[in-house]
Protein backbone atom coordinates (compact mmCIF):
# COMPACT_ATOMS: atom_id res chain seq x y z
CA UNK A 1 0.00 0.00 0.00
CA UNK A 2 1.40 3.36 -1.03
CA UNK A 3 0.42 6.87 0.08
CA UNK A 4 1.15 9.50 -2.58
CA UNK A 5 1.33 13.25 -2.05
CA UNK A 6 1.34 15.97 -4.73
CA UNK A 7 1.65 19.72 -4.04
CA UNK A 8 3.51 21.09 -7.07
CA UNK A 9 1.10 23.92 -7.84
CA UNK A 10 -2.25 24.98 -6.34
CA UNK A 11 -3.88 21.63 -5.54
CA UNK A 12 -3.16 19.75 -2.31
CA UNK A 13 -3.48 16.09 -3.31
CA UNK A 14 -3.17 12.69 -1.65
CA UNK A 15 -3.98 9.19 -2.88
CA UNK A 16 -3.69 5.61 -1.69
CA UNK A 17 -2.80 2.87 -4.18
CA UNK A 18 -2.13 -0.83 -3.88
CA UNK A 19 1.32 -2.14 -4.71
CA UNK A 20 0.06 -3.10 -8.17
CA UNK A 21 -1.26 0.37 -8.98
CA UNK A 22 -4.96 0.07 -8.17
CA UNK A 23 -6.23 3.44 -6.96
CA UNK A 24 -8.09 3.07 -3.66
CA UNK A 25 -8.60 6.79 -3.07
CA UNK A 26 -7.62 10.09 -4.64
CA UNK A 27 -8.41 13.34 -2.88
CA UNK A 28 -7.79 16.84 -4.27
CA UNK A 29 -8.05 19.91 -2.06
CA UNK A 30 -8.36 22.75 -4.55
CA UNK A 31 -7.35 26.26 -3.60
CA UNK A 32 -10.22 28.21 -5.14
CA UNK A 33 -8.81 31.41 -3.64
CA UNK A 34 -6.53 31.87 -6.70
CA UNK A 35 -9.60 32.93 -8.72
CA UNK A 36 -9.37 36.22 -6.84
CA UNK A 37 -5.87 36.86 -8.14
CA UNK A 38 -6.44 35.90 -11.79
CA UNK A 39 -3.96 33.04 -11.56
CA UNK A 40 -1.90 30.94 -9.19
CA UNK A 41 0.11 33.03 -6.72
CA UNK A 42 3.06 31.02 -5.33
CA UNK A 43 2.94 32.69 -1.90
CA UNK A 44 -0.80 32.06 -1.55
CA UNK A 45 -0.40 28.47 -2.76
CA UNK A 46 2.29 27.77 -0.17
CA UNK A 47 0.13 29.23 2.61
CA UNK A 48 -2.87 27.11 1.71
CA UNK A 49 -1.05 23.82 1.17
CA UNK A 50 -0.15 23.90 4.84
CA UNK A 51 -3.81 24.24 5.83
CA UNK A 52 -5.17 21.71 3.34
CA UNK A 53 -2.63 18.92 3.12
CA UNK A 54 -3.04 17.18 6.47
CA UNK A 55 -6.86 16.91 6.21
CA UNK A 56 -6.46 15.76 2.59
CA UNK A 57 -4.02 13.00 3.63
CA UNK A 58 -6.33 11.89 6.45
CA UNK A 59 -9.28 11.86 4.04
CA UNK A 60 -7.34 9.80 1.48
CA UNK A 61 -6.54 7.21 4.16
CA UNK A 62 -10.12 7.05 5.39
CA UNK A 63 -11.60 6.91 1.85
CA UNK A 64 -9.30 3.97 1.12
CA UNK A 65 -10.21 2.38 4.47
CA UNK A 66 -6.52 2.12 5.20
CA UNK A 67 -4.74 2.60 8.53
CA UNK A 68 -1.33 4.22 8.80
CA UNK A 69 0.23 0.92 9.80
CA UNK A 70 -1.01 -0.60 6.51
CA UNK A 71 1.19 1.76 4.50
CA UNK A 72 4.32 0.22 2.98
CA UNK A 73 5.79 3.38 1.48
CA UNK A 74 5.20 7.07 0.80
CA UNK A 75 5.63 8.77 -2.58
CA UNK A 76 5.88 12.50 -3.15
CA UNK A 77 6.31 14.93 -6.02
CA UNK A 78 9.84 16.34 -5.85
CA UNK A 79 9.45 18.75 -8.81
CA UNK A 80 9.18 20.54 -11.11
CA UNK A 81 6.78 23.13 -9.74
CA UNK A 82 6.50 25.95 -7.22
CA UNK A 83 9.29 25.23 -4.74
CA UNK A 84 7.46 26.69 -1.74
CA UNK A 85 4.45 24.52 -2.54
CA UNK A 86 6.50 21.39 -3.25
CA UNK A 87 8.36 21.72 0.06
CA UNK A 88 5.14 21.42 2.06
CA UNK A 89 4.40 18.06 0.43
CA UNK A 90 7.99 16.86 0.66
CA UNK A 91 8.38 17.80 4.35
CA UNK A 92 5.08 16.14 5.25
CA UNK A 93 5.96 13.00 3.30
CA UNK A 94 9.43 12.78 4.83
CA UNK A 95 8.14 13.27 8.36
CA UNK A 96 5.48 10.63 7.86
CA UNK A 97 7.78 8.11 6.18
CA UNK A 98 10.54 8.43 8.75
CA UNK A 99 8.03 8.39 11.61
CA UNK A 100 6.45 5.19 10.29
CA UNK A 101 9.87 3.74 9.38
CA UNK A 102 8.83 3.06 5.78
CA UNK A 103 10.61 3.97 2.53
CA UNK A 104 10.10 7.16 0.50
CA UNK A 105 10.00 7.50 -3.27
CA UNK A 106 10.56 10.81 -5.07
CA UNK A 107 8.51 11.35 -8.23
CA UNK A 108 8.96 13.81 -11.08
CA UNK A 109 5.66 15.62 -11.70
CA UNK A 110 5.91 15.15 -15.47
CA UNK A 111 6.56 11.44 -14.96
CA UNK A 112 3.33 11.49 -12.97
CA UNK A 113 1.39 12.94 -15.90
CA UNK A 114 2.87 10.24 -18.16
CA UNK A 115 2.01 7.54 -15.62
CA UNK A 116 -1.59 8.82 -15.51
CA UNK A 117 -1.90 7.18 -18.92
CA UNK A 118 -1.89 3.81 -17.13
CA UNK A 119 -4.99 4.91 -15.20
CA UNK A 120 -7.05 5.37 -18.39
CA UNK A 121 -8.75 2.00 -17.93
CA UNK A 122 -7.36 0.54 -21.15
CA UNK A 123 -4.48 -1.81 -21.81
CA UNK A 124 -1.52 0.44 -22.53
CA UNK A 125 2.01 -0.83 -23.08
CA UNK A 126 5.04 1.06 -24.37
CA UNK A 127 5.96 2.20 -26.87
CA UNK A 128 3.62 5.16 -26.85
CA UNK A 129 3.85 8.94 -27.01
CA UNK A 130 2.40 11.14 -24.30
CA UNK A 131 1.28 14.72 -24.84
CA UNK A 132 1.43 16.51 -21.49
CA UNK A 133 -0.28 19.89 -21.69
CA UNK A 134 -1.04 21.82 -18.53
CA UNK A 135 -0.67 25.27 -17.00
CA UNK A 136 3.01 24.70 -16.30
CA UNK A 137 4.17 22.27 -18.97
CA UNK A 138 3.65 21.35 -22.60
CA UNK A 139 5.70 18.53 -24.07
CA UNK A 140 5.58 15.29 -26.00
CA UNK A 141 7.31 12.34 -24.34
CA UNK A 142 8.35 9.12 -26.05
CA UNK A 143 7.89 6.18 -23.70
CA UNK A 144 9.80 3.16 -24.95
CA UNK A 145 9.89 1.12 -21.74
CA UNK A 146 7.81 1.04 -18.54
CA UNK A 147 9.30 3.21 -15.81
CA UNK A 148 10.87 6.61 -15.68
CA UNK A 149 13.28 6.20 -18.57
CA UNK A 150 11.59 8.22 -21.32
CA UNK A 151 12.69 10.96 -23.65
CA UNK A 152 11.17 14.31 -24.54
CA UNK A 153 10.77 14.72 -28.30
CA UNK A 154 9.23 18.20 -28.23
CA UNK A 155 8.51 20.91 -25.70
CA UNK A 156 7.34 24.50 -25.52
CA UNK A 157 9.91 27.20 -26.09
CA UNK A 158 7.93 29.76 -24.09
CA UNK A 159 4.45 29.48 -22.52
CA UNK A 160 2.59 26.26 -21.74
CA UNK A 161 -0.73 25.51 -23.47
CA UNK A 162 -2.68 25.77 -20.22
CA UNK A 163 -0.93 29.04 -19.48
CA UNK A 164 -2.08 30.28 -22.91
CA UNK A 165 -5.66 29.41 -21.96
CA UNK A 166 -5.29 31.24 -18.63
CA UNK A 167 -3.74 34.33 -20.19
CA UNK A 168 -6.29 34.36 -23.02
CA UNK A 169 -9.13 34.13 -20.53
CA UNK A 170 -7.69 37.04 -18.60
CA UNK A 171 -7.42 39.17 -21.79
CA UNK A 172 -11.02 38.28 -22.64
CA UNK A 173 -12.18 39.11 -19.13
CA UNK A 174 -13.38 35.57 -18.46
CA UNK A 175 -11.62 34.86 -15.14
CA UNK A 176 -9.62 31.91 -13.87
CA UNK A 177 -9.02 29.03 -14.52
CA UNK A 178 -8.95 29.85 -18.21
CA UNK A 179 -9.30 26.43 -19.85
CA UNK A 180 -12.91 25.63 -18.98
CA UNK A 181 -13.99 29.29 -19.26
CA UNK A 182 -12.52 29.75 -22.76
CA UNK A 183 -14.01 26.41 -23.82
CA UNK A 184 -17.46 27.41 -22.58
CA UNK A 185 -17.30 30.84 -24.24
CA UNK A 186 -16.05 29.25 -27.47
CA UNK A 187 -19.14 27.04 -27.76
CA UNK A 188 -21.12 29.98 -29.18
CA UNK A 189 -18.30 31.32 -31.36
CA UNK A 190 -16.84 30.82 -34.84
CA UNK A 191 -13.35 29.26 -34.69
CA UNK A 192 -12.55 30.74 -38.12
CA UNK A 193 -13.62 34.30 -37.26
CA UNK A 194 -10.06 35.40 -36.42
CA UNK A 195 -6.85 34.05 -37.90
CA UNK A 196 -4.56 33.68 -34.91
CA UNK A 197 -0.99 32.35 -35.41
CA UNK A 198 -0.09 28.64 -35.04
CA UNK A 199 3.66 29.13 -34.42
CA UNK A 200 4.43 28.35 -38.05
CA UNK A 201 7.97 29.59 -37.59
CA UNK A 202 8.76 26.98 -34.91
CA UNK A 203 10.07 23.86 -36.65
CA UNK A 204 9.77 20.22 -35.62
CA UNK A 205 7.61 19.24 -32.68
CA UNK A 206 8.32 22.15 -30.36
CA UNK A 207 5.49 24.46 -29.28
CA UNK A 208 5.17 28.23 -28.90
CA UNK A 209 2.19 30.09 -27.48
CA UNK A 210 3.62 33.50 -26.56
CA UNK A 211 2.91 35.01 -30.00
CA UNK A 212 -0.64 33.73 -29.93
CA UNK A 213 -1.33 35.47 -26.65
CA UNK A 214 0.09 38.73 -28.03
CA UNK A 215 -2.08 38.42 -31.15
CA UNK A 216 -5.18 38.08 -29.02
CA UNK A 217 -4.15 41.13 -27.02
CA UNK A 218 -3.74 43.18 -30.22
CA UNK A 219 -7.04 41.90 -31.65
CA UNK A 220 -8.92 42.94 -28.53
CA UNK A 221 -7.19 46.31 -28.52
CA UNK A 222 -7.94 46.90 -32.22
CA UNK A 223 -11.60 45.95 -31.84
CA UNK A 224 -12.17 48.31 -28.95
CA UNK A 225 -13.82 47.42 -25.66
CA UNK A 226 -17.46 47.28 -26.86
CA UNK A 227 -16.77 45.34 -30.06
CA UNK A 228 -14.39 42.95 -28.30
CA UNK A 229 -17.07 42.18 -25.76
CA UNK A 230 -19.68 41.68 -28.48
CA UNK A 231 -17.39 39.27 -30.32
CA UNK A 232 -15.96 37.56 -27.28
CA UNK A 233 -17.31 34.16 -28.26
CA UNK A 234 -15.67 34.40 -31.71
CA UNK A 235 -12.41 35.52 -30.13
CA UNK A 236 -12.51 32.63 -27.66
CA UNK A 237 -13.35 30.07 -30.33
CA UNK A 238 -10.62 31.30 -32.68
CA UNK A 239 -8.07 31.47 -29.88
CA UNK A 240 -8.92 27.95 -28.72
CA UNK A 241 -8.73 26.68 -32.31
CA UNK A 242 -5.22 28.10 -32.67
CA UNK A 243 -4.08 26.28 -29.51
CA UNK A 244 -5.73 23.02 -30.56
CA UNK A 245 -4.39 23.20 -34.12
CA UNK A 246 -0.87 23.62 -32.80
CA UNK A 247 -1.24 20.62 -30.48
CA UNK A 248 -2.65 18.50 -33.31
CA UNK A 249 0.04 19.52 -35.80
CA UNK A 250 2.94 18.84 -33.40
CA UNK A 251 1.53 15.52 -32.25
CA UNK A 252 0.97 14.45 -35.85
CA UNK A 253 4.58 15.34 -36.67
CA UNK A 254 5.79 13.42 -33.60
CA UNK A 255 3.86 10.32 -34.68
CA UNK A 256 5.36 10.61 -38.13
CA UNK A 257 8.95 11.13 -37.02
CA UNK A 258 8.99 8.50 -34.25
CA UNK A 259 6.80 5.90 -35.92
CA UNK A 260 4.95 5.48 -32.61
CA UNK A 261 1.22 5.53 -33.29
CA UNK A 262 -0.42 5.46 -29.85
CA UNK A 263 -0.63 8.83 -28.06
CA UNK A 264 -1.67 9.30 -24.44
CA UNK A 265 -2.91 12.75 -23.45
CA UNK A 266 -2.37 14.12 -19.96
CA UNK A 267 -2.37 17.44 -18.09
CA UNK A 268 -5.25 19.81 -17.48
CA UNK A 269 -5.61 20.69 -21.18
CA UNK A 270 -6.63 17.07 -21.81
CA UNK A 271 -9.92 18.01 -20.15
CA UNK A 272 -10.61 20.33 -23.11
CA UNK A 273 -13.04 18.55 -25.42
CA UNK A 274 -12.01 20.56 -28.49
CA UNK A 275 -8.42 19.40 -28.01
CA UNK A 276 -9.45 15.77 -27.63
CA UNK A 277 -11.75 16.01 -30.64
CA UNK A 278 -9.09 17.73 -32.75
CA UNK A 279 -6.55 14.99 -32.06
CA UNK A 280 -9.06 12.21 -32.70
CA UNK A 281 -10.30 13.77 -35.96
CA UNK A 282 -6.67 14.01 -37.10
CA UNK A 283 -6.54 10.21 -36.93
CA UNK A 284 -4.44 10.05 -33.76
CA UNK A 285 -4.86 6.79 -31.82
CA UNK A 286 -5.61 8.66 -28.57
CA UNK A 287 -5.69 7.38 -24.99
CA UNK A 288 -7.08 9.86 -22.45
CA UNK A 289 -7.32 9.15 -18.72
CA UNK A 290 -10.44 10.28 -16.86
CA UNK A 291 -10.37 14.05 -16.28
CA UNK A 292 -9.66 13.56 -12.56
CA UNK A 293 -6.31 11.99 -13.53
CA UNK A 294 -5.52 14.60 -16.22
CA UNK A 295 -5.48 17.58 -13.87
CA UNK A 296 -3.03 17.51 -10.96
CA UNK A 297 -3.67 14.56 -8.65
CA UNK A 298 -1.70 12.23 -6.39
CA UNK A 299 -2.94 8.97 -7.94
CA UNK A 300 -0.68 9.58 -10.94
CA UNK A 301 2.24 10.23 -8.58
CA UNK A 302 1.56 6.94 -6.79
CA UNK A 303 1.29 5.12 -10.11
CA UNK A 304 4.59 6.60 -11.29
CA UNK A 305 6.22 5.64 -7.97
CA UNK A 306 5.46 1.97 -8.54
CA UNK A 307 8.12 1.89 -11.26
CA UNK A 308 10.72 3.69 -9.10
CA UNK A 309 13.19 2.50 -6.46
CA UNK A 310 12.97 3.44 -2.79
CA UNK A 311 15.31 6.27 -1.82
CA UNK A 312 18.20 5.29 0.47
CA UNK A 313 17.37 6.46 4.01
CA UNK A 314 19.87 9.34 4.09
CA UNK A 315 18.73 10.59 0.66
CA UNK A 316 15.11 10.42 1.82
CA UNK A 317 15.86 12.48 4.94
CA UNK A 318 17.68 15.12 2.87
CA UNK A 319 15.20 15.21 -0.04
CA UNK A 320 14.72 18.73 -1.43
CA UNK A 321 12.48 20.21 -4.13
CA UNK A 322 13.43 21.32 -7.62
CA UNK A 323 11.79 23.97 -9.76
CA UNK A 324 11.04 23.93 -13.48
CA UNK A 325 14.29 25.78 -14.13
CA UNK A 326 16.20 23.31 -11.94
CA UNK A 327 14.73 20.42 -13.92
CA UNK A 328 15.89 21.87 -17.22
CA UNK A 329 19.41 22.03 -15.84
CA UNK A 330 19.41 18.44 -14.54
Amino acid sequence: MILAIETSCDDSCAAVLTGTGEVLSSVVGSQVIHDLYGGVVPEIAARHHLELLLPVVERALSDANVELEDLERVAVTQGPGLVGALLVGIATAKGLAVGLDIPLRAVDHLHGHVAASYLAGVELEPPFLCLVASGGHTLIANIQEPGSDWSIVGTTIDDAAGEAFDKGARILGLGYPGGPLVEKEAEAGDPAAFDFPRAAGVPGVDFSFAGLKTSLLYAVRDLGEAEAEARRADLAASYQAAIVDQLVERVSRAVETTGVSVVAFGGGVAANSAARMGLTEAGINLVVPPTKYCTDNAAMIGRAAIELPDLPREAALALDAYSTADRSAR
Binding site: V41, E51, E58, L87, A91, L96, V98, G99, A318
Partner: protein, 224 residues
Protein backbone atom coordinates in the same frame (compact mmCIF):
# COMPACT_ATOMS: atom_id res chain seq x y z
CA UNK B 1 7.14 15.53 30.05
CA UNK B 2 6.03 11.92 30.13
CA UNK B 3 6.79 11.15 26.48
CA UNK B 4 9.71 11.76 24.15
CA UNK B 5 9.28 15.31 22.82
CA UNK B 6 10.79 16.68 19.63
CA UNK B 7 11.31 20.43 19.17
CA UNK B 8 11.87 21.97 15.74
CA UNK B 9 12.72 25.55 14.81
CA UNK B 10 13.10 26.70 11.21
CA UNK B 11 11.91 30.28 11.62
CA UNK B 12 15.31 31.91 11.01
CA UNK B 13 18.21 30.99 8.72
CA UNK B 14 19.26 28.44 11.35
CA UNK B 15 17.79 24.99 11.63
CA UNK B 16 17.32 23.93 15.25
CA UNK B 17 16.28 20.47 16.40
CA UNK B 18 16.04 19.16 19.96
CA UNK B 19 14.79 16.17 21.90
CA UNK B 20 13.58 15.98 25.50
CA UNK B 21 13.34 12.46 26.94
CA UNK B 22 10.71 11.45 29.52
CA UNK B 23 13.47 11.30 32.17
CA UNK B 24 14.29 14.97 31.53
CA UNK B 25 17.52 14.47 29.60
CA UNK B 26 17.68 16.74 26.58
CA UNK B 27 19.89 17.46 23.59
CA UNK B 28 19.65 20.11 20.89
CA UNK B 29 21.65 20.93 17.78
CA UNK B 30 21.78 23.76 15.26
CA UNK B 31 22.72 24.07 11.61
CA UNK B 32 23.83 27.54 10.53
CA UNK B 33 24.25 28.05 6.78
CA UNK B 34 27.56 29.37 5.51
CA UNK B 35 27.49 33.03 4.42
CA UNK B 36 25.86 33.22 0.99
CA UNK B 37 24.29 29.77 1.30
CA UNK B 38 20.58 29.04 1.56
CA UNK B 39 19.16 27.75 4.86
CA UNK B 40 19.22 23.95 5.02
CA UNK B 41 15.78 23.60 6.64
CA UNK B 42 14.55 21.00 4.15
CA UNK B 43 17.66 18.87 3.96
CA UNK B 44 18.93 19.19 7.55
CA UNK B 45 15.94 18.93 9.90
CA UNK B 46 15.27 15.19 9.84
CA UNK B 47 18.92 14.23 9.45
CA UNK B 48 19.69 16.22 12.60
CA UNK B 49 16.78 14.60 14.40
CA UNK B 50 17.94 11.12 13.40
CA UNK B 51 21.43 11.84 14.74
CA UNK B 52 20.14 13.27 18.03
CA UNK B 53 17.81 10.31 18.58
CA UNK B 54 20.66 7.90 17.85
CA UNK B 55 23.03 9.76 20.19
CA UNK B 56 20.40 9.54 22.94
CA UNK B 57 19.94 5.82 22.34
CA UNK B 58 16.39 6.06 21.05
CA UNK B 59 14.55 6.27 17.71
CA UNK B 60 11.70 7.76 15.71
CA UNK B 61 9.26 5.13 16.96
CA UNK B 62 9.55 6.54 20.49
CA UNK B 63 8.32 10.03 19.53
CA UNK B 64 5.22 10.96 21.52
CA UNK B 65 5.04 14.71 21.05
CA UNK B 66 6.16 17.15 18.34
CA UNK B 67 6.57 20.88 18.96
CA UNK B 68 7.44 23.42 16.31
CA UNK B 69 7.81 27.18 15.97
CA UNK B 70 4.93 28.64 13.97
CA UNK B 71 6.68 31.94 13.26
CA UNK B 72 6.91 34.74 12.67
CA UNK B 73 10.05 34.41 10.57
CA UNK B 74 11.28 32.74 7.41
CA UNK B 75 8.26 32.18 5.15
CA UNK B 76 9.55 28.99 3.55
CA UNK B 77 11.34 27.80 6.67
CA UNK B 78 8.16 27.91 8.73
CA UNK B 79 6.28 25.93 6.08
CA UNK B 80 9.01 23.26 6.10
CA UNK B 81 9.06 23.11 9.89
CA UNK B 82 5.29 22.85 10.26
CA UNK B 83 4.91 20.29 7.47
CA UNK B 84 7.73 18.17 8.90
CA UNK B 85 6.14 18.36 12.35
CA UNK B 86 2.74 17.43 10.90
CA UNK B 87 4.21 14.36 9.19
CA UNK B 88 6.06 13.20 12.32
CA UNK B 89 3.01 13.86 14.51
CA UNK B 90 0.65 12.02 12.16
CA UNK B 91 2.95 9.00 12.28
CA UNK B 92 2.99 9.21 16.08
CA UNK B 93 -0.80 9.47 16.26
CA UNK B 94 -0.77 12.93 17.84
CA UNK B 95 -1.22 16.52 16.72
CA UNK B 96 1.79 18.78 16.43
CA UNK B 97 1.92 21.67 18.88
CA UNK B 98 3.01 25.19 18.00
CA UNK B 99 5.04 27.87 19.72
CA UNK B 100 5.67 31.49 18.73
CA UNK B 101 9.27 31.98 17.64
CA UNK B 102 9.33 35.38 19.39
CA UNK B 103 7.97 34.02 22.66
CA UNK B 104 10.40 31.09 22.51
CA UNK B 105 13.26 33.57 22.14
CA UNK B 106 11.96 35.51 25.16
CA UNK B 107 11.72 32.27 27.16
CA UNK B 108 15.49 31.97 26.72
CA UNK B 109 15.89 35.29 28.56
CA UNK B 110 13.33 34.52 31.27
CA UNK B 111 15.94 34.21 34.02
CA UNK B 112 17.30 37.72 33.43
CA UNK B 113 16.17 40.55 35.68
CA UNK B 114 15.94 43.16 32.91
CA UNK B 115 13.20 43.57 30.30
CA UNK B 116 13.82 41.77 27.00
CA UNK B 117 12.99 42.49 23.39
CA UNK B 118 12.96 39.66 20.84
CA UNK B 119 13.79 40.74 17.29
CA UNK B 120 13.59 38.41 14.28
CA UNK B 121 14.71 39.42 10.81
CA UNK B 122 11.58 39.91 8.68
CA UNK B 123 13.60 40.87 5.55
CA UNK B 124 12.79 43.86 3.36
CA UNK B 125 14.07 46.16 6.11
CA UNK B 126 11.54 44.96 8.68
CA UNK B 127 11.75 43.17 12.02
CA UNK B 128 9.30 40.96 13.89
CA UNK B 129 9.15 42.18 17.47
CA UNK B 130 7.88 41.13 20.89
CA UNK B 131 8.75 42.27 24.40
CA UNK B 132 8.43 40.34 27.64
CA UNK B 133 6.60 43.34 29.09
CA UNK B 134 3.75 42.93 26.57
CA UNK B 135 4.24 39.47 25.01
CA UNK B 136 0.81 39.29 23.36
CA UNK B 137 1.52 42.43 21.32
CA UNK B 138 3.68 40.98 18.53
CA UNK B 139 4.16 43.05 15.39
CA UNK B 140 6.20 43.72 12.25
CA UNK B 141 8.31 46.86 12.56
CA UNK B 142 9.33 48.70 9.39
CA UNK B 143 12.84 49.72 10.45
CA UNK B 144 13.65 51.40 7.16
CA UNK B 145 10.85 53.93 7.57
CA UNK B 146 11.73 55.19 11.04
CA UNK B 147 14.86 56.83 12.35
CA UNK B 148 14.01 55.99 15.97
CA UNK B 149 12.27 52.68 15.48
CA UNK B 150 13.33 51.41 18.91
CA UNK B 151 11.59 54.26 20.78
CA UNK B 152 8.81 52.06 22.21
CA UNK B 153 11.17 49.36 23.53
CA UNK B 154 11.33 49.12 27.36
CA UNK B 155 14.13 51.26 28.77
CA UNK B 156 17.30 49.32 29.55
CA UNK B 157 16.07 46.23 27.73
CA UNK B 158 18.26 43.42 26.45
CA UNK B 159 17.68 42.83 22.74
CA UNK B 160 17.99 39.26 21.42
CA UNK B 161 17.50 37.38 18.19
CA UNK B 162 19.01 37.60 14.70
CA UNK B 163 17.31 40.98 14.23
CA UNK B 164 19.12 42.29 17.30
CA UNK B 165 22.46 41.01 16.01
CA UNK B 166 21.91 42.73 12.66
CA UNK B 167 21.06 46.03 14.36
CA UNK B 168 23.42 45.70 17.34
CA UNK B 169 25.31 48.93 16.72
CA UNK B 170 22.30 51.22 16.58
CA UNK B 171 20.60 49.46 19.50
CA UNK B 172 23.68 49.79 21.71
CA UNK B 173 23.99 53.45 20.77
CA UNK B 174 20.37 53.87 21.87
CA UNK B 175 21.20 52.43 25.29
CA UNK B 176 20.04 48.84 24.92
CA UNK B 177 22.04 45.74 25.74
CA UNK B 178 22.85 43.43 22.85
CA UNK B 179 24.86 40.32 23.75
CA UNK B 180 27.72 39.20 21.50
CA UNK B 181 26.56 37.61 18.26
CA UNK B 182 27.70 34.17 19.44
CA UNK B 183 25.61 34.34 22.65
CA UNK B 184 23.06 31.54 23.00
CA UNK B 185 20.41 34.12 23.94
CA UNK B 186 20.12 34.99 20.23
CA UNK B 187 19.17 31.43 19.34
CA UNK B 188 15.71 29.90 19.39
CA UNK B 189 16.26 26.83 21.54
CA UNK B 190 14.36 23.77 20.29
CA UNK B 191 14.19 22.57 23.88
CA UNK B 192 12.46 25.84 24.76
CA UNK B 193 10.15 25.22 21.78
CA UNK B 194 9.04 22.02 23.55
CA UNK B 195 8.36 24.01 26.73
CA UNK B 196 6.68 26.97 25.02
CA UNK B 197 4.38 24.70 22.97
CA UNK B 198 2.79 23.18 26.07
CA UNK B 199 0.34 26.09 25.90
CA UNK B 200 -0.86 25.11 22.42
CA UNK B 201 -4.56 24.12 22.52
CA UNK B 202 -5.31 20.41 22.18
CA UNK B 203 -6.78 19.23 18.87
CA UNK B 204 -5.94 22.49 17.10
CA UNK B 205 -3.83 22.08 13.95
CA UNK B 206 -0.61 24.06 13.95
CA UNK B 207 -0.78 27.11 11.71
CA UNK B 208 1.74 29.83 10.92
CA UNK B 209 1.69 33.04 12.91
CA UNK B 210 1.41 35.72 10.24
CA UNK B 211 2.24 39.28 11.23
CA UNK B 212 2.10 40.49 7.62
CA UNK B 213 -0.51 40.14 4.87
CA UNK B 214 0.40 38.38 1.61
CA UNK B 215 2.16 40.55 -0.99
CA UNK B 216 -0.27 39.47 -3.70
CA UNK B 217 -3.24 41.74 -4.28
CA UNK B 218 -6.59 40.39 -5.55
CA UNK B 219 -7.41 41.43 -9.12
CA UNK B 220 -10.49 43.42 -8.04
CA UNK B 221 -8.40 45.52 -5.65
CA UNK B 222 -5.85 46.22 -8.39
CA UNK B 223 -8.63 47.65 -10.55
CA UNK B 224 -7.85 45.25 -13.42
Amino acid sequence: MSVLSVGIDTSTAETGVGVVLPDGRSLERFDLPQPGSRPAHSSATLRMLKKILADMGTGFDEIGRVAVTVGPGSFTGIRIGLATANGLALAAGVKAQGASSLLTLLRGAADLSQPAVALIDARRGELFVATNTAPHDRFALPVAEQADWWRDFPAGAICIGDGAVQNAEVLREAGFTVPMASDALHRISPINVCLEATGWPEDVDVAPEYLRSPDAIPTAERGL
